[in-house]
């Protein structure tokens, strides 16, 4: 991931909000200071708790799917993991299918609290770094 990938994340560049309601946001992002393998394990665990099916697609891409039909079909969420450094990752969560409100519920009541303890907090920078496994995802282009 390069500097421009990061810069282009700004909502200031996202003109789609001119066309859609903001509360119907269909994407969320987190930075996590852990190796990718830990993040994948965490996401699988959260999926399990929420009763969703979690499957690994290509490198760094996870799919979380509801087992029952929701209001607008089966809820399907992509979680893509990008490496900033080997122990620092950006996770981008996106709704692929299903009802946006159900998606937001999963993000706000499932993913955010579930990932809370590993989302990087600036204040914790002074603490001892967690033991770093040398697991590297192939570089996302």
């Amino acid at each position: 991931m390069n500097a421009f990938d990061i810069i282009s994340l700004s909502p200031g560049f996202d003109l789609t909000t001119l066309f859609e309601e903001p509360r119907l946001k269909k994407e969320a992002r987190f930075t996590i200071w852990r190796p990718a393998s830990v993040i994948i394990w965490k996401l699988e665990d959260i999926g399990r708790v929420l009763g969703m099916k979690v499957s690994k697609r290509e490198a760094g891409l996870l799919k979380m799917e509801g087992v029952k039909e929701g209001r607008k079909g089966i809820l399907s969420i992509d979680a893509e993991i990008f490496e900033l450094t080997p122990s620092f990752h950006l996770v981008e969560v996106k709704k692929c299918n299903g009802d946006t409100l159900e998606y937001q519920k999963v993000v706000n009541e499932g993913l955010r609290p579930g990932l809370e303890d590993i989302i990087w907090d600036w204040q914790q920078e002074q603490h001892v770094q967690p033991e770093q496994q040398d697991v590297q995802l192939p570089q996302q282009d």
Binding site: I7, L9, F19, R29, F30
Partner: protein, 213 residues
Amino acid sequence: MGCFNSTVRKPVPGHENPTILASQTAFSVSEVEALFELFKSISSSVIDDGLINKEEFQLALFKNRKKENLFANRIFDLFDVKQKGVIDFGDFVRALNVFHPNAPQEDKISFCFKLYDMDGTGFIERQEVKQMLIALLCESELKLADDTIEIILDKTFSEADVDQDGKIDKSEWHNFVTKNPSLLKIMTLPYLRDITTTFPSFVFNSEVEEIAT
């Protein structure tokens, strides 16, 4: 069934001839009219003068007219081609044209370069990228240590800045984006394909006979 030119038409602030704009862009006449519905709602939100000012743009983008954002400012400045501090309907349509899925890659690459060349020197300097990176980190949940920022900048410039002069020129940018097409993601708005279904009320305002497209 047919449309006829209405001769008794109250002029709507900001309206420009859709046929001319359609001929200059990838949009059809009905798409231009649909864009006018969008333009009307944005340009009348603070001052009803048929022009989009910075506050109205911020309101449309962030639902908060007071929210200042470095990147939204860059977009605004590029839309405001005549540098008048306001965006008129022609500016709006011609700029959005670059974001159309069918717009030429060259136009997107060029617009994107100008976006990042904040001081308009014709080069994207390392310092500019650093400034934008830091601005992004400040406005989001992302936080990175100073040396991580330098590592990211080093990596970016070693790939993009081929002649290693500390800045990215237009041709280096062209090559860099060709190798990293995800960088142009922000330059395409799929919504523009369905604009006539998103803003259907144009049907009642149509002033030209619909030509089969």
